[in-house]
Symmetry: none
DNA sequence: AATGAATGAGCATTCATTCAT
DNA sequence: TATGAATGAATGCTCATTCAT
């Protein structure tokens, strides 16, 4: 019985969160009304405040919980690989396919995560940078193994790599691309970063 | 006399625009109050409406006028160069140095230009894509000249390149980096895109 | 319990409406502030928007609901009478006594109902003309019965009659006359319309 | 030369007044903007304040000056007549034809003169009542001469008579009736007040 | 006198949050 | 827990009026 109740509770928490992702993606954080989220989650307005402190807290929770899942997922995949080049390919492929599968969440991340806002910045600096730092760690490893160029600065490369993926996936919000397109794009970006634009065939 | 008046008028228009860039960058479009902009521009609230239709119109004008200047500027620099590799280096260097010089404007572009909003999206599709398309044009030219790899898709590469620059410059909002850092970052990103991460010395 | 809530709700709706009548009568529609109405009704400003769409909607509701009541009331009284002369006397007496009892409402009707405004004009042409047309119907009946002069145009007479009552009651807004005065005035106006000014005793 | 200037000045004063009548009639006093009036009068906004104290002062001036003209006009016509019955007929005929000729002014009088407003009320009690009192004076004279019924109260009859004319002319704002209609309406109203509704042929 | 750019007080409306039930 | 009616702070925009030219 208590289990049932607990399930019910977590259901509501989850329902509100998913509703919020949808609504935030649809009209942006500022234009989204608590009543929109409540309606989408089929609860009363007041109920939301039993699960979240404020409208802003919902946004933060989305990053905390949903982005957290993404990060853990990507991390575990990369851990199974040892070759740095392959690792970056996996990161790219995985990031893009997630952005594609979770369009609404992607949009919320891409838009709201950039808001100039102290709390938001703090968040980026903690939880999110952990994710992006996966890239610089891989690059450093590749450099140590003599596979990657040593004159590349990992701190810059990580942002360049992440920025590429981010911008490349932005056009996908509507309509959704095929999984082939996603894979091909991941390959292109990874290849670009591995080999560069210059044609070495001649040399 | 008429000159004086004219100057005054354009001063106000410009002052309000610059004030808005500052305020929008500082607290974001939604949190910015018209009275904040008015105070920053040292005019009365109502005066703003002599020069702009609405708060939203100010944001659009920033893109229309300020981004327009940037685009024209970068374009004219690139037109003086014929080598595609150099052209991309110039694009990178110029984009980053502008983002660095106009921190507030950069922030407004990076944040507000992403807002889920029909008009904003339209804007991206017209004026802004012109800018990003410079990159794909250069890439196609390089491929035609046999300098760039032909298996790279210009449409993906342009976004990857722009996304890299965008993300790389994001961290600069505070505090401002030295011009050396800016140049070095531009070189790094361009080099990454030219040569890739892989160390070819061995081969 | 549900009764209590229902009562409370309808109380609020009614309270706001009555408060609005008072405030509109006191300072006119345009000078009336939403907060004035809210204060008078002892609710928060925002509460008003739970019951009405806009300030203008309140005004329309006053006519729709309050004037509707008046019309129904007068109509039912007249239906109980068959003699056209008596019917006009009843109309006059009833109209005036209502204007006297509901001073604020009377003032709102007399002032706001005349506003040059498309919606207001439409309203006059539908709900209100129904009321005034009672008079022409009575006159036509009287003419058919040979009691009233046939050279009188009912369309003109109805407006003349209504205009007389309207103007005659305008002076009552402050201070209120005794019910004797009201009755006497009704009798005078009705008598004027029945017999005219000319002294026939002599002839 | 000074005459020319004077003429110019009075031209502007008059132009502004006529423009205001037009604009007030078109959108009502509250919705009318000073800039609307200025544009209609082909002067700058600020110029209006050289001739009038405030927006409200313009409205008052309309009544003071324009209504004044009407009153003087009607008075002089009535002064040429000695028979009370004819005098009322002339009053009716004249009032209606003026309301018809000056539609905009009529609308302003009918609407704005009713606004609940201290100054407006004062105005009604002074300048305007002078006009309406013409009617009661005539009635008293008729009673003294034994032509009019002595049981009619002049104070009530004057308002009834004026109210009739006022309401009867309200429908004329658009489109304008022919002068025949105006005359016929005047005759009807006067006749109604002279002879009443009741058919005396039988007696 | 005339102009019209500048001012800033004023107000309807929205919506996150609370709280009695 | 859940509800949703009630709250009231917050703000973009309008426009009568002023005043430097």
């Amino acid at each position: 019985m208590s289990k049932k109740t607990e399930t019910k509770e977590s259901n509501k928490h989850e329902r509100i969160l998913q509703a919020a992702i949808k609504v935030f993606a649809g009209k942006g954080f500022f234009h989204a009304r608590i009543s929109d989220i409540a309606k989408e989650a089929r609860v009363a307005d007041g109920t939301i405040y039993l699960y979240f402190e404020s409208k802003y807290d919902i946004l933060l929770s989305i990053f905390e919980e949903e982005v957290g899942k993404l990060i853990d997922d990507v991390k575990s995949r990369i851990d199974q690989e040892t070759n740095p080049q392959r690792m970056l390919e996996i990161f790219a492929s995985h990031h893009l396919s997630m952005m594609n599968r979770k369009t609404s969440l992607a949009e919320v991340i891409q838009i709201e995560l950039r808001q100039t806002n102290q709390k938001m910045k703090e968040y980026r600096n903690t939880r999110f940078s952990e994710y992006v730092n996966l890239v610089s760690t891989i690059i450093k490893q590749g450099q140590a193994e003599g596979i990657f160029r040593k004159d590349v600065k990992p701190g810059i490369a990580k942002r360049a790599f992440f920025g590429s993926l981010d911008e490349v996936s932005r056009v996908w919000t509507t309509p959704a691309p095929t999984s082939y397109e996603v894979e091909e794009t991941a390959r292109q970006v990874a290849s670009l970063f591995m080999n560069g634009l210059l044609d070495k065939k001649v040399s």
